[in-house]
């Protein structure tokens, strides 16, 4: 199965900008550990993954009554903090949950992709 893993909120972590250099390096090591753990695991693969620019750079597109309206900022306040994503191929939810424990403890949403075939 493919899952989109949205890193939605900082959870119990403080915001990235409040980390000093050493703390930022520690968080980066957790991301590296996640990549390494995925690498080692049969049947799991990171298909894509990016850090995302802050909400100030997001554009929201809505089509209402046939006309398209663009607004500045994120779709909802709830995902204002969304910091990044992974697209992961994994056998099942449990395998993914186990690997995600290696990441910093962000709030996340895991959405399976629909298999069209």
């Amino acid at each position: 199965m493919k899952y989109l893993v949205l890193l939605i909120g900082d959870g119990e972590l403080k915001p990235w900008s409040e980390h000093d250099d050493e703390e930022q390096a520690a968080v980066m090591r957790q991301f590296e550990a996640f990549h390494a753990a995925v690498e080692e695991r049969d049947g799991v693969e990171i298909l894509a993954g990016e850090a995302l620019a802050g909400p100030a750079h997001a554009t929201t597109v809505r089509t209402r009554g046939g006309s398209t309206v663009l607004t500045e900022g994120p779709y909802t306040e709830a995902i204002e903090q969304m910091g990044g994503f992974y697209l992961v191929e994994t056998p099942d939810l449990d395998a993914l949950l186990e690997l995600l424990r290696v990441l910093p403890p962000y709030d996340m949403q895991l959405s399976p992709a629909v298999d069209p075939y």
Binding site: T90, P91, D92, L93, D94, L96, L97, E98, P112
Partner: protein, 423 residues
């Protein structure tokens, strides 16, 4: 008397027993083979219906579970054949590839492979990604074969609502990618703890007072006890399960004494000869067994402490001998491990018994439980004991207004009427 050694020819009674004992194993085997959560339960239901027609006529088969498995397999295969091309895209349950290669197992394979399948089934039904009530209902349905109507009654919802909830849970399992599998050993104890919580939710649902006259659904709570026994059979040393079984048995042992002539009987007034003392003895043994000798998690500790409190009540000859000071001490520990308003309320009751009504009332200060009549009911009782009849009457009014269970309300009204008349 010597029982004649004849081969049993079970008619419907035998079928009922086989279904009760083997349902989970049959579901697990069918899921491992076909991975179709949407078909397996119906196919097994059809097989049971076929058995109820055939066995009384043809006699029971030599191996009843194997007969049911074979019949259910044919049903699934028939359904798969008739599915059109579009339906063939029906999403399948995630099953470990290694496990699939082991091939179709049979009931004759009674060894560890089938036991593993039952554990997979239990862990799938009680997955933390399912809402707790859905997980509870699904576990009772798939692992134990409890009829949907009974599960609905247990959780106090209409049967169609429960049927829809179970269907939704099955769809979510397939859609969210919850596997029919056993997770890594590092997370297995956590997952077993979720299984325990799932079973306890079903158990307490049976004792939760409902809105109608159906005060005690205790025989249905017994199904949750059975669920814990099944899982404990698979993982005999799991502290959370051992502690939870002890707690459930102690609470459940009093089921026959809680009602008399349709009226609620409080602990102190219960006929202790109607308690199930064999269950008390089993619980006491469990509490001192090896799996609980070492350090345990907070959840397990809270089960142990609640069980110890129940055991203090269960093992004295009369309610006058209850060691209330020890019970207060156990509640102190429980509040440290897992603070909750209901534990505080219960502690206040114990304090009142130990040190008098006034001391108990002081413990009730500022205690509220939303949508519950219990704090007001306890306050009323203690005010009455303390001689403040007017305040007691007001507290009973408050409790009666908040109470949504007919039998409990009748009890409170009786208590209010028995207060000394205003002078």
């Amino acid at each position: 008397m010597v029982t004649p050694d004849v081969p049993s020819q079970p008619g419907l009674e035998g079928l009922e027993r086989v279904v009760r004992e083997e349902w989970g194993r049959l579901v697990a085997l069918l899921l491992a083979q076909f991975r179709r959560l949407d078909l397996v339960e119906d196919a097994l239901g059809d097989a049971v219906a076929a058995a109820s027609r055939r066995w009384p006529v043809d006699g029971a088969p030599a191996n009843p579970p194997a007969w049911l498995l074979t019949t259910a397999r044919r049903r699934v295969v028939d359904r798969l054949r008739t599915e059109d091309v579009a339906r063939r895209k029906e999403p399948m349950l995630v099953v470990d590839a290694r496990q699939r290669q082991e091939g179709a197992r049979t009931m004759a394979d009674a060894g560890s492979l089938v036991e593993d399948d039952v554990l997979r089934l239990v862990l799938m039904c009680a997955h933390p990604a399912l809402a707790p009530e859905s997980a509870s209902a699904l576990s009772l349905r798939l692992v134990l074969g409890v009829p949907t109507a009974d599960i609905a009654r247990l959780f106090l919802v209409p049967e169609p609502t429960m049927a829809a909830r179970i269907t939704r849970a099955k769809k979510r399992i397939v859609g969210a990618g919850i596997p029919f599998g056993v997770p890594d050993a590092s997370v297995l104890p956590d997952r077993i703890e979720v299984v325990a919580q799932t079973a306890y939710l079903a158990f307490t649902a049976g004792y939760a007072p409902g809105t109608g006259p159906d005060l005690l659904r205790a025989e249905l709570s017994g199904e949750a006890v059975r669920l814990v026994r099944v899982v404990l059979g698979l993982r005999p040393d799991e502290p959370a399960l051992v502690a939870l079984l002890a707690l459930m048995l102690l609470q459940h042992s009093r089921r026959d004494a809680r009602l008399r002539d349709g009226r609620l009987v409080l602990l102190a007034g219960q006929d202790r000869s109607r308690w199930h003392h064999d269950e008390v003895a089993e619980a006491t043994r469990l509490l001192s067994s090896a799996p609980l000798a070492g350090p345990v998690t907070p959840t397990t500790a809270s089960y142990v402490l609640q069980a110890r409190i129940a055991a203090e009540h269960a093992t004295v000859a009369s309610s006058d001998d209850t060691p209330w000071d020890r019970i207060v001490g156990l509640y102190d520990l429980l509040l440290q491990v897992s603070p909750s308003p209901s534990a505080r309320l219960a502690r206040a009751v114990a304090v009142a018994e130990d040190r008098g009504a006034v001391a108990g009332l002081a413990e009730l200060e500022g205690l509220e439980i939303p949508d519950s009549h219990r704090p007001a009911a306890v306050r009323a009782e203690l005010l009455s004991r303390a001689g403040d009849t007017d305040a007691a009457r007001a507290a009973y009014d408050q409790a009666i207004a908040a109470c949504r269970n007919d039998v409990e309300r009748a009890f409170l009204e009786g208590q209010r009427a028995a207060l000394r008349r205003p002078t």
